[in-house]
Amino acid sequence: MPLINYANREIQFKIVYYGPALAGKTANLIYIHSRIGPAYRGDLVSLATSADRTLFFDLLPLHAEVLQGFKTKFQLFTVPGQVIYNSTRQLVLRNVDGVVFVADSQWDKMEENVVSFRNLEENLRAQGISLDEFPYVLAFNKRDLLDIAPTNYLEYLLNNRKRRVRRFESIAKTGVNVFAALDAVTQLLLRKFDTEHQGLRPSSAGR
């Protein structure tokens, strides 16, 4: 549920980049940060170890005006992918509005993808959220590597549900489909927002 601040005329969406360790979640944020004008973004806050592993989360705030009269903030978070940091992931997932699940396309990461995806489902369920109704997209990352699984297998592992979501073949380090995935999840958020806030009209929202 996005945060709506009527006094400041501000709406805030929280998007979390989820996925196994070293799948490229932070790389997604770095690319987005590099491509958005400074006037429309905050600093990329990154709490990483010396080995560049995300320790707590990365945060990239973006500003836009999506609904007339309302400043819209998108807060992009990543989670640490390592299995042991589940409590951190649960914390970062609080009040999440949408997820970009970043899967690692390499053959030997398939099990980690599945484990991470099931972990996402579990953590959302703990918040009373069903993945079947939740806005998320899949990014099959590292498609530039040689030893990668075909997308139909990744789809079989991660998108073989009653509700099939959009998926993207991405290369986060060069930016291929990074914005496409962000755009797609944002569309889902806006559509959901539209459905759930029929009464919220920009003209009268400032009261």
């Binding site: 491509r35 075909p150 009653k162 099939r164």
Partner: protein, 488 residues
């Protein structure tokens, strides 16, 4: 690495690649086509199968997952892990050992404090008869033996049954993978002395295909060491015989997928799109489009934006879209502030459950009530056609199935994009109605109308008279039907 899952999906699995022991009753041994073996010959390589239902009710409820499994599903247990009692005709196994055979039914790993003995009737140990009747019920009444005793393994199936010698009947139930990559990827905790060396690097081992398939959904395939050992060439068996028989050995997925047919990972057909194809612009749409052009996003990546002309002519839909006044985030490379609030014309691909279309019935010459699946099935029965598949322009499957040497999962995301690129390149969108591609002797034609894409596999010859026109008409009518549904 997760726990091994050696369960199988159906009773037929148990018949694959099995061998009968020397002590098998004469009536059975006469139909068993495989070489015989005994437990003594392949220690640790002997398994029996048992339906989960045989012991499920005896498991501590607290340790089980809330979802009840299919109780008829077979799971495999090594004979050496159980103790059988000839008097009571019962078999006993430790819960912790049992949980390794079917981890999916347990809510969590079994710890030493949870461990207990589980007993079930010996008569439940069985394999189901295969279609050709090779493996009838093996747990015949009164045949219980002590596991360690002479001939006590007579009711077991041996993992050695997956050996390349297993014969023709087993071939379709096996998958053969190269051994070298498996040996190169042994878990670090498995230390072999002397390190195994393959005389022939191309050496393959045969594994039960259902054992492999049942684990694909988990993103890995594990087999028990005893199964690997049994499938090994004779010269390597002594080296592997020292490994704990229940140790899990990973089989590299890439090796499996070299041999596995694409139908092993078919996506479910009863899905619903979790998103709308009606695009509304977001603050990130411009960058996404820019990147798609700049980075030449690969086809099939779910991100081929429609051409500019299509965008501009599109009606604006959706309240949020209508309110987009400014696309604020800038780009380091382009100015996006002037982007117009112009959502795309792509609309939801939704069809009514049942079609009310006389035109479609007439086209397909049927009085049957049609739905999407039935319509596509009827289309595939048109003269000269082999199969057909309806997808969206983004490659999402809507109905039908493409059969033949061309893998549907490979081709369906690519063809609509290819078609669109062709249209775009030709610059005369209306002149291109269909494309036929030839893959050796297997032509495939694509017909694309708005967001619907019909992919048809047909005979190696031009369409029979009237068929091509009929295909166009059907796709056009389907497009009308789904637009009509939208209006309501």
């Amino acid at each position: 690495m997760g726990s091994p899952d050696f369960s199988k999906s159906d009773s037929e699995d148990a018949t694959q690649g099995v061998q009968r022991s020397e002590t098998t009753e004469p009536a059975l041994s006469t139909v068993a086509p495989y070489p015989t073996s005994t437990a003594e010959e392949s220690p640790g390589g002997t398994f029996f199968s048992i339906p989960i239902g045989a012991f499920y009710d005896r498991l501590p409820e607290l340790l089980l997952t809330p979802k009840k499994p299919d109780l008829s599903r077979l799971t495999y247990i090594a004979w050496e892990d159980v103790v059988s009692d000839a008097d009571t005709k019962e078999v006993t196994i430790l819960l912790s050992i049992l949980s390794l055979s079917c981890p999916e039914i347990f809510a969590r790993p079994i710890e030493s404090t949870d461990d207990t003995s589980i007993t079930f009737p010996l008569s439940q140990l069985r394999t189901e008869p295969s279609k050709d009747g090779f493996y009838p019920e093996i747990a015949a009444e009164g045949s219980a033996q002590t596991a360690g005793g002479d001939g006590g393994i007579e009711k077991a199936v041996t993992a050695a049954g997956v050996s390349p010698k297993a014969g023709v009947a087993a071939a379709s139930n096996e998958i053969r993978v190269k051994l070298a990559p498996t040996l190169a990827n042994l878990p670090p905790e498995i230390e072999l002395f002397p390190p195994p060396t393959l005389r022939d690097p191309e050496t393959e081992i045969a594994l039960p295909i259902d054992l492999v398939k049942s684990q694909l959904k988990d993103g890995r395939v594990l087999i028990p060491a005893s199964l690997l050992c049994a499938a090994l060439p004779e010269d390597l068996k002594p080296t592997f015989g020292k490994i704990e028989p229940t140790a899990a050995i990973p089989i590299p997925l890439r090796e499996i997928f070299r041999k596995l047919s694409s139908d092993a990972i078919e996506l479910r057909e009863d899905f619903a799109l979790g998103y709308s194809l009606e695009i509304i612009r977001t603050p990130f749409t411009a960058q996404a489009e820019e990147d798609a052009l700049r980075l030449a996003t690969a086809p099939g990546s779910s991100m081929i934006p429609p051409s500019g002309s299509e965008r501009e002519s599109a009606p604006e839909t959706g309240r949020v879209a209508a309110q987009i006044a400014q696309i604020a985030p800038g780009s380091n490379e382009t100015s996006v502030g002037a982007t117009k609030p112009t959502p795309d014309a792509i609309t939801d691909i939704e069809f009514p459950a049942i079609f009310d279309s006389d035109a479609l019935q007439a086209l397909l010459m049927t009085e049957e009530t049609l739905d999407l699946a039935k319509t596509i099935q009827k289309v595939s029965q048109l003269p000269g056609l082999r199969s057909c598949l309806l997808t969206t322009t983004q490659g999402t499957k809507l109905a039908g199935k493409l059969v033949g040497p061309i893998k549907e999962t490979v081709i369906s995301p690519v063809l609509p994009c290819l078609f669109q690129q062709l249209k775009s390149a030709l610059g005369e969108a209306r002149s291109l109605e269909g494309v036929t591609l030839y893959f050796d002797q297997d032509p495939i034609s694509i017909i694309l109308i708005n967001e619907l894409c019909l992919i048809v596999a047909h005979d190696n010859r031009p369409f029979r008279p009237g068929v091509r026109e009929k295909l166009f008409s059907v796709v056009q009518e389907l497009d009308n039907i789904r637009h009509a549904k939208q209006r309501f």
